[in-house]
Symmetry: C2
């Protein structure tokens, strides 16, 4: 029964400060007994996708760059698993929104590259990232089988299903989501609630644990008189979609929680959804649209 930590954080503008802060948070969580460290999406920098600026490509790094290397050393020292989101550069012109999974002995088990890339006012990710090319993946760590998906993937039942069908015990979603300040009063709760509900739905439909780890704090758009208020509220759900823990909206907060992955088999025996999937009828999931034009 591993103890996992969801580390919700504000992000400092400076790389060294952001990394230093996260390292302290990981050390604190390890001191509290946590064995699996889950970090927010692109935690090493402010959410640069608020604008389309070529200079931000300088933030990218290789799969064995400074961020992953630093976390490998920390994983080995503390004997903890760490899921490390970073801005990955593969070659000139090829960049991904990635998360590496580091086992407790420091081995990099591999990386997941965000499959679904958003493009929305203030979330201009299609400018920076190619859509992931490694498919859905589960990483066998010494503390359980971790399926990694990232942020916008949260809205896709297909991503959750395909990761669960690979044997994930937990779906881990590093996240950077928040409100446009001018929408918050009218739409804020609806947006937050929908975001949580769709993920609780994934937990239910797949009989898996789900962890969403968000950043928090307001980050100003450097070129506009606005920004994003990241909504925090990182949460952990169990395999019946039950909410096990939820962080607050505004502050740094670490959820440290025991998760009993052996519950999954019991839940799936009582709710045998996998047994009855009509796999003969799902072929059209690979179509964009099936109806007639409207």
């Amino acid at each position: 029964m591993p103890k996992i930590a969801l580390i919700q954080t504000r992000v400092a503008p400076d790389y060294a400060a952001a990394i230093g802060h996260m390292e302290s948070r990981i050390r604190e969580a390890a001191f509290a007994g946590a064995q699996v460290m889950l970090l927010p999406e692109l935690f090493a920098s402010p959410y640069f996708c608020q604008e389309e600026l070529h200079a931000h490509f300088a933030l990218s790094e290789s799969a064995r760059g400074r961020t992953v290397s630093g976390m490998v050393a920390l994983a080995k020292e503390l004997h903890v698993v760490i899921v490390v989101p970073f801005f990955e550069r593969v070659a000139a012109g090829i960049y991904f929104n990635t998360a590496a999974v580091i086992d407790a002995d420091g081995t990099v088990l591999g990386q997941y590259r965000k499959m679904h890339i958003p493009d929305d006012p203030g979330f201009y990710e299609k400018f920076y990232f190619s859509p992931g090319d490694l498919g859905y993946q589960v990483f066998q760590t010494c503390y359980g089988r971790i399926g990694v998906l990232i942020c916008w993937d949260q809205w896709y039942p297909e991503a959750a299903r395909l990761t669960a069908l690979r044997g994930a015990d937990i779906l881990v979603y590093p996240t950077a989501i928040g409100w446009h300040p001018d929408e918050k009063s009218a739409h804020g709760e609806t947006q937050y609630t929908a975001w949580q509900r769709v993920q609780l739905g994934h937990a239910v439909a797949n009989g898996v644990f789900v962890a969403a780890i968000n950043r928090t704090g307001f980050e100003k758009n450097p070129t506009k008189d606005t920004g994003i208020e990241f909504w925090g509220r990182s949460f952990l759900a169990g395999p019946q979609g039950e909410l096990l823990a939820q962080a607050g909206e505004r502050d740094d907060e670490t959820i440290v929680q025991d998760v009993d992955f052996s519950q999954i088999e019991t839940v799936r025996q009582h709710w045998p959804f996998f047994r009855d999937r009509r796999i003969d009828s799902y072929g059209e999931m690979t179509k964009r649209y099936i109806g007639t034009e409207r």
Copy 2:
């Protein structure tokens, strides 16, 4: 902007009484202005699948049998759409758990045959029903495009997705779900909540309305000292997964509500999940399992 009615009901043991009661309820809803009548699964009889008994096949009828024929007359008279669940007999040995969709002029637009069939203590549907052979369907009625799915289908994101991709404005789930009395205190709320959450997830992921119409009341298992306490709480959700209305647990109740299907286009422009589906990566949805054996 059609007005729809979710007619939650207790079911009388006798066919004539059950049908007569439903007809009155439909007339009342029509009097209240409802134009689309949504009925619970297998509403014309007690939930006979609590036991495996060959005699219950006598409850089956053809696609133009007494239940559908009676509802056709009523639809024509009241000028309302009716989604009519019934126990369908196609030939000796071939039976389905079906819902016909009748347009407001009395035309039977077609039928949906439940694709996912459960088999659980007290829900022995695999004994009675072949798995549906007509796939996922949307029916163009004069009051909107209705996608029909039935009960156990509720737990499958694939069914919701494939129906939404056919252009459904609303996913309609006739239902017969409840508690085993001896589980209710320990697991009742978890079960109910999971049932609702997974469906709110479908509304969010697909930007569609969702209606779940359940029966209510306790139905004793004829051969055992137990039965099922149907949990009512029929509900209607909007295309952002927002709960628009919910019935109580124990009583006959009709939710009559205006639904503005034009909201769907706005929601999907703001939450463009369909745009970004990675259809190149969903081929393995047709597999039972993808991981290694454990």
